[in-house]
Structure formats: C-alpha cells, structure tokens
C-alpha cells in the first residue's frame, strides 16, 4: 500500500513534514502523494478533532444522530435519496445501514431548535422519507480515536530506565 495512505489510515496527527520523515521521503514527495490521493478522491481533506465540552468551545454546536427510514426507488435503490440528504450543510455524515432503519445521519447545528427545525421542516418532509428518530448527543467520551478528558497516567513514565 502507498506508505502515505497507510499513515493516514492509522490516523495520527502528523504534519506533512513529519509524515515525510516517518515514511523516509522528502516533503515534496509526500505532497505529491497527497495530491495524487486527492485526485483519486481517496484523500478528501483534513478536519480537526475538538473537545466541544470545553468552556472555550461551549455552546458552539449541538449534535444529533437521526435514524431515517426511506423508500428505496426502482433503478436507484437508496442512493439518490441518500445523496440528496447528504448535501444539506447540517449533515456531517450519512451512512446506509443494515437493520431496523436505512440511513444513519449525523447532523449538527448552532442550537437545539435549529437542529429540530432542520429535522421537522427539511429532512422529514422530503418525499420518500418515511420516518425519523432523532437522538441528541449529551456527552462525548471518545471522538475519532481520541479519548476526551480521561486523565490517563502515561506521563508518569520514568525518564531514564534500564
């Protein structure tokens, strides 16, 4: 596998300069790989992972997951409706699921009311959407591999040991 892609999949937070050193390449080479991966639409972009429970970020965003049941269409299955839902700015992620509902939609908004009105006015009124079930997120313990505020003790490692 492309070594840069492999490091990206591992999900570290290295800069391109650091990626270059770890992969044993020059930085321009890493950038070339990234450009190529972008062209191939494998690498889509960088996003920060934030702990939004901190006071500095508090109140910035409300997040919810919505289970959506939809009617599959002849010829297109779930795809047309799913990509239509996915285009809304409020939607962060959208997955087709096996099991009791069809789409799992992650949405965010500036307030509970905004998210609620998005669901009731936009999402649930789309033709083909049969039902929605909205769950607001209360607290985050782990996000994209990062543990939030767990106070792990790995800083207590000795500086010099045999």
């Amino acid at each position: 596998m492309n070594p840069v892609l492999k490091l990206l999949i591992e999900g570290g937070s290295l800069t391109t300069g650091q990626l270059a050193q770890v992969a044993g390449m020059t930085e321009p080479e890493v950038n070339q790989h990234l450009e190529q991966l972008k062209k191939e639409k494998i690498f889509l972009g960088w996003r920060p992972v934030l702990d939004l429970s901190h006071e500095a970020a508090a109140g910035a965003v409300v997040r919810a997951v919505i289970e959506v049941k939809i009617t599959p269409e002849r010829g297109g299955g779930f795809n047309r409706l799913a990509s239509r839902l996915a285009r809304f700015d409020e939607v962060e992620s959208c997955y087709l699921m096996s099991g009791g509902y069809d789409l799992l939609v992650f949405v965010k908004g500036p307030s509970l009311q905004k998210v609620a009105s998005f669901v009731s006015e936009k999402l649930s009124t789309i033709e083909g959407v049969l039902s929605t079930s909205t769950h607001f997120m209360l607290r985050c313990y782990k996000d994209q591999g990062f543990l939030l505020d767990q106070g792990d003790a790995n800083t207590s490692r000795l500086n010099v040991a045999p």
């Binding site: 570290g12 290295l14 300069g17 650091q18 050193q21 770890v22 992969a23 044993g24 792990d152 790995n154 490692r157 000795l158 500086n159 010099v160 040991a161 045999p162």
Partner: protein, 396 residues
C-alpha cells in the same frame, strides 16, 4: 560498640557498583519541568492495550485476589507453552517445565541462584543489560564478560566466546536481541555458539525478552537448535512485546529438574507472581497478538527514522535488527559518551544513556530508545543535529 551501619552490609553487596544509569537518572530528574525529551527509557511508550487492562479489572471484580500455585496459574502456563511452541519452535510441558515469575529479572535471578555454587563462572556478553553482572555477583558467581564489537554490529560471535572462555565456566547468559545495542546473532553464529556450548558443557540462560521486536529476518531461539533444549533455560516475559512493564510478569521454561530447582527458590522468596497480573498476561496471550504486530510496525518505522537521522548527522549507527534501542557511535563529535550525553541533556534537553553504563565496550556510544512518538523523535533528532553542529563548532 560500632554504630556505623556500614559494617552490617554484606561484603559482596557493598562491593556492587551503583548502576551507571542511576547517576544519569538523577541528573535528568534535576531537570524536571524543562521540556526534556527522553530517549533514555527502557520500556514501550504504549500503554498496555485496553482489553488486557480490562481483563485485570474483571479478575479483581471476580474476587481473584489470592495466591496462585508457585509455578503460576496452570491456564497461563498452558498458553505460555503453546505460545513458545508456536513462536520459538520449542516444546515445554506446562505441568513441570514452565514457571511464571515476577518479570524476567526474577527468572534470571532464580536461574542463577539455582545453578551457581560460590565461585562458579558465568559468561555474559557485553555491553549488556545493567543487571547481568551484579546478578552474578549476588549469587556469589564469577562473571566473565565476552566483548561484542561495533564492527560486528554488536553481534555475539563464537570466536569471541571461545577467546573469553576459561576452564570451569558453567553458565552462558544470552540476551538476543540485546539491550542496549540491539545486537542479534546470525543463524550461522548461533549454530556455532550452540556447538561451543555443547563442547564446553555450558548451560545457557537465554533472555529473549526483545524477540518479538525483530524487524529483519526471523528470530531463532538457541533452545530450538539440536541438542540445546536440554541445556537451555528459556527466559521470556510480557513487558516489551505486550507493553506490560509495570505488571512484572515473566517466565522461564527448561528441563523439569532445573525448573524445579528454580521453583524452590521462588517458593521461599516470592511465593508466586501477582494473580491479577497473571490474569492480564493470560489475556495478552489469548488475544494480544494483533497488538504486538501493530506496535512492532510502529517501532520498525521509528527505527528506520532514527537510524537514518543519526547517520545523516554524522553519528555512525548500525540498524539494530531487534529491540527498540539505537546505539550510535558518538566519537566523531570529539566527545566521550558521557560528555555527549550530559552536553546533549544540558544544552538541548534530550536524554540518552551513556553506553559505558552497559559495560566497557559501550564506550564511545550512547543508547537512544526509539519507543517514543514520531513527533517527539523528530524533535529529538533535530535537537541532536543542532547539538552536534554546536559541539563540532567548539572543537574546530
């Protein structure tokens, strides 16, 4: 009346030198809070995988708080036996050929105590782990150091072994891959060493704690070579491969009679290893192999990174086949290993350990542990580069 406590200390203990690492540890401790990047540790930077930690918590919840058999939990010994057969190609019976110990350190101590009469000669290769020589002295044995050399990438050779051999030598201690050099043996050399052990009737204590962290080629245990299982005590543990240093779980496998002799010492001193840690070790063997592979891949990349950077900045450094230590030659800077380590710490806040702490042959080298994050490693290498630039400047 003599009130000075000194005269109560046993002579052989009083005669033990303080570990060279200890001095350096104190120096680093003084710099607390100063953004020191430490490449001076001898342990993984990974925390023990969660499923292993969780199994220890579950063991506590189930009330597993009692002693185990002196030899250790039979379930654990069974899994150890399977693991050693699979990964090292040696068969040991869980019932009487495996003993669970408090780290490999205890296993090593038990083996030496079970084998050594006062004055018995014990050979060990040097540079080596700091406790080898003192452990021999504590059992009233006599240590014979076998040098390994930078020109051989610190691999032990049968020739060096033969040259250092003395009549009456009884035990050979091996640590391959080696802390601090990362040195290993070629298969050809290992065959010759095995033949030499049979010729001279040596019993081998083979400490293979870094074996899973072999990056190039396949690790071969000397115990798996023809005629060796009868004269080898195989020592291993969970600290490095499974990132479980603080749990203190090791084990020894060997001929039943020798394991029984070690068990005698163990039962009167340690009784048994902690049951909670044994439960965690069991989980590690049952479901931890993917973690080992994941961590090994990380160490492998870090090794390539640090060795490349050392050589680029003019510190000659062989690529260690195993372990997570690089052992670069620092003499090109015009500094001794101690001056280099102290200077680097004071000027650039990077801690490495002077090679002399691991024996005379470590002179001119430092040990740099690459079990730390990519980000930290890169910054450490940048700082070392800057330090070398400065050090060369002042010498010119």
């Amino acid at each position: 009346m003599n009130n000075d406590p000194k005269h109560w200390v046993a002579r052989h203990v009083a005669a033990l030198p303080k570990s060279g690492i200890r001095d350096f540890f104190e120096l680093v401790a003084k710099m607390k809070g100063q953004d020191v990047i430490s490449l001076g540790v001898g342990e993984p930077d990974f925390v023990t995988p969660w499923h292993i930690r969780e199994s220890a918590i579950f063991a506590l919840e189930r009330g597993k708080t009692y002693y185990t058999s002196n030899l250790g939990l039979i379930e654990l010994r069974r899994e150890i036996s399977k693991y050693v057969a699979t990964h090292f190609n040696v068969e040991y019976r869980p019932d009487d050929q495996v003993i669970v110990t408090v780290g490999v350190s205890e296993a090593l101590d038990l083996a030496l105590r079970a084998l050594c009469n006062p004055g018995d000669k014990v050979m060990f290769h040097q540079p080596c782990y700091v406790s080898y020589h003192p452990s021999i002295a504590l059992t009233h044995g006599v240590g014979i150091a076998v040098p390994t050399y930078a020109k051989d990438n610190f691999a032990l050779t049968a020739e060096a072994l033969r040259a250092a051999w003395q009549p009456g030598a009884k035990v050979l201690m091996l640590n391959l891959p080696c802390n601090p050099t990362g040195g290993t043996c070629s298969r050809e050399q290992l065959d010759k060493i095995a033949a030499f052990c049979i010729e001279k009737d040596l019993i081998v204590l083979s400490d293979e704690i870094y074996s899973e962290l072999t990056f190039d080629g396949v690790h071969t245990s000397i115990a798996s070579l023809p005629g060796m299982v009868e004269r080898t005590i195989f020592l291993h543990g969970f600290s490095k491969a499974f990132a479980m240093t603080g749990w203190r779980i090791g084990y020894a496998c060997g001929p039943a009679l020798l394991i029984d002799a070690m068990m005698k010492v163990h039962q009167y001193t340690m009784l048994c290893a902690s049951i909670i840690a044994q439960e965690a070790a069991l989980e590690a063997l049952l479901r931890g192999w993917d973690d080992v592979l994941r961590m090994r891949e990380q160490y492998h990349r870090r090794r390539d990174l640090i060795v490349r950077r050392f050589n680029e900045v003019g510190l000659k450094c062989h690529s260690p086949r195993g372990s997570f230590y690089a052992f670069p030659d620092v003499t090109a800077t015009g500094l001794t290993e101690k001056e280099f380590a102290v200077g680097l710490l004071e000027k650039e806040k990077v801690a490495v350990v002077p090679g002399i702490a691991f024996g005379d042959n470590g002179a001119g080298h430092v040990r740099a542990c690459f079990a730390t994050s990519y980000e930290q490693l890169i910054v450490a290498c940048d700082r070392i580069e800057r330090f070398i630039g400065g050090a060369k400047g002042t010498k010119a």
